[in-house]
Symmetry: C2
Subunit: 426 residues, 2 copies
């Protein structure tokens, strides 16, 4: 299929929180203690929360930069494309990148909101987390209906509250919860305890997918202190592979047959080997380990529960039927350094040259719609959803690669953002 | 190809050291301090060395047991098949399993001989290590010429001595060195330092392959303390994947273009995804990380240096050309629990049903011969090397599955082994 004709929903992008996240949603009692952006004397922006400075406002938010500069993290809003944190600019970037819809993982709270979980005052923590979720749904996503798959942050520190928040968000249409790939690595009970059962029950009841993003355990695959960074980049998907194995053999899938899990940014090319190894592990060892899936093989169980996600993965596309054609969704990863934005459609069309249109429809948008109960066509005619149609909506949007230059990106910014930036510097 | 007609060299099997390993090779000055087998009152056998008891004589040496008992490690010689530690019995097991030749990793010293490296008296350590290597080459392998690929243990604690030992062993025909998948994890300088350069020089000069076995870093992929063991079994190949990335991006391959590395028991199905991820990491990031392979892609560099090894891996076989048909070797993994001995030929024939005979010849034995400079046909006519021909040499050998029963296995044992066992109990 020609890139122009693709319809693309990305199940893994990222937003950088603008300074006004909490303004409209935090209860007055906690207003003074909500996280706020602070501009340091060196020109960098940090979030301040309960006396802790959280740097790297937009960790790895390098879209639109030359590759030579990928190693230098943006540390201030004006070092990033406004599309990272300004939803109106974001939509233009999505149009220019041919992206119909997008699911946006958080930045400063951590993928599973652990910044809030670390707060001693749990009343404050819950107020802040709910304000974040309300901002995400009611402001960010609601600004452009049908363009964003809403996603909630979890109440990591209390499974009953976590369940209640899932149910509260579900009423607002949220069918995705960002969660950690390994709660044990964050100091919480593992997937093998019954601690999380209230949360799993809520996810199943409400049809909410647990989206676990690569890196959400806070663990990095480091071989040696002096190893070049390329080793770590290459090995990033290992934690997702560990999470998939951890969950597959856990009681979660056995006790909660309706639970569904997305392996966000996990890649797909390793999955056929992985499910084969699951089956071999089962066949060689279940007689002494006692694993029992009611007579089914782990590979069958895997396909019932897991959505796999990839950016550009020729091996995974070639082996799509070994993975499960209904278990694969595409992602753009804007604005991180693994993204090919704004040329992601062309990249996908090239690696998928041999993939039939029906399969590419599943991978490009149909699977994302079904898994996340998300229907962009309720808001926009399907023929207006192609890459070419979207690009035609923002024909003059500047997507040129620009070198890092303080203040340069801010030239693009409209009045709203100037206000935000003024606020950040106040 | 029918299983009967296969010719099979296994590049990854294991031996359990018999009690007499050091008898004929340790200098008199160290004779009293060499490791020795001690039978404990509970009936288990351990190695004693410098006051340390090393249990698990034959870690995971469960060949010939029912799968229900795989979780119970053999702890004494008479709980194992004699083929684990008696070379004459081993040859019968190899014949019955259709195995022309075999490379045998060590057991109690650890895959990289770290038990010896931990010894304070380095004179003793070197004497013991050299005695081990001499026993392996001059007794175990020499007992049946053309049936074993000899392999040396490394002098982990001194790269100059390590180089000298490689050169000494090369004179005896040894073209394989078992090494750790991550020296940094064992407390030594990493693959990124120049510490090991004398060893790499010796390996290149002598045409010796560095064989790094899964698990040789001493690290296990554990997700949580309460995770079922199936998780760890599934994830075992991760450390080999980490080693492959660690070495690929290291200075070793750039500074020592002749170095060759075998990823023993690493599996093959993940390799196409892995080399693709290497290339993507290079393409997306080399401009800021500074990686430079002289204009080549990492995937090309990978195929020049790495031999991949698998037991039964349908995905890897299907993708053999993406891996590199000259970079794949089969393994049996006798006597460990991942092995299908004595039915490994049938297992391979089944998963390789669609693989042309010429490819299967490369995977089954030709690649092993070339990588390890090993020629079994100098000792035996090729038509006598097939699975059927070998099985015909030991037609009455008992390969029935037998339940764990103390003393039961010892009934098979010939006079030599009774002596060994008497010695162990003395």
């Amino acid at each position: 299929m020609h890139a122009d004709d693709l319809i693309l929903i990305s199940v893994d992008d990222h937003l950088v929180e603008p300074p006004n996240v909490f303004d409209n949603h935090i209860p007055d009692a906690y207003r003074d203690r909500a996280p706020r952006v602070h501009r340091k004397r060196d020109g960098s922006d940090v979030w301040l929360f309960e006396g802790v400075k959280i740097p790297n406002i937009g960790l790895n938010a390098v879209a639109g930069r030359p590759k030579e500069e990928y190693g230098v993290e943006p540390t201030a809003f004006d070092e990033m494309r406004p599309g990272c944190f300004d939803v109106h600019e974001r939509i233009k970037d999505m149009n220019a990148g041919g992206l119909l819809a997008s699911m946006n993982f958080p930045s400063f709270p951590g993928f599973s909101g652990r910044v809030f979980a670390n707060t001693e005052d749990k009343g404050l923590a819950l107020a802040v987390l709910q304000a974040y979720n309300d901002w995400h749904v009611d402001e960010w996503c609601a600004a452009y209906p049908g363009r964003f798959i809403p996603m909630g942050l979890p109440v990591l520190w209390d499974p009953e509250l976590a369940a209640a928040e899932v149910r509260r968000l579900a009423k607002k249409g949220v069918r995705s919860l960002t969660f950690t790939e390994n709660p044990a690595a964050l100091g919480f009970p593992s997937f093998h305890s019954d601690h999380w059962d209230p949360l799993w029950t809520a996810l199943c009841d409400e049809g909410v997918v647990m989206s676990i993003h690569l890196g959400s355990s806070g663990q990095l695959a480091i071989t040696a202190p002096d190893a070049p960074v390329d080793v770590m980049i290459t090995l990033q998907p290992m934690n997702i592979c560990m999470a998939a194995a951890d969950l597959l053999w856990s009681r979660v899938l056995k006790q909660f047959p309706d639970i569904r899990i997305a392996l966000s940014e996990g890649g797909t090319g390793w999955i056929p080997y992985f499910v084969d190894r699951l089956d071999r592990t089962y066949n060689m060892h279940h007689q002494w380990t006692g694993q029992d899936f009611g007579g089914r093989l782990p590979s069958e169980v895997f396909r019932e529960h897991f959505l796999t996600c990839f950016i550009a993965d020729p091996v995974g596309l070639a082996l799509r039927n070994e993975i499960g054609i209904d278990n694969i969704a595409w992602e753009c990863d804007y604005p991180h350094s693994d993204s090919s934005w704004p040329n992601a459609p062309e990249e996908l069309a090239a690696v998928a040259a041999d993939v039939p249109d029906t399969d590419l429809a599943k991978i490009g948008y149909e699977n994302a719609m079904r898994w996340y109960s998300f229907d962009p066509f309720a808001h926009r005619a399907k023929e207006q959803c192609t890459v070419a149609a979207l690009r035609a909506e923002s024909p003059d949007h500047d997507v040129s690669i620009r070198s890092y230059d303080k203040g340069r990106f801010s030239k693009q910014v409209g009045a709203d953002l100037v206000d935000l930036q003024a606020k950040a510097t106040a």
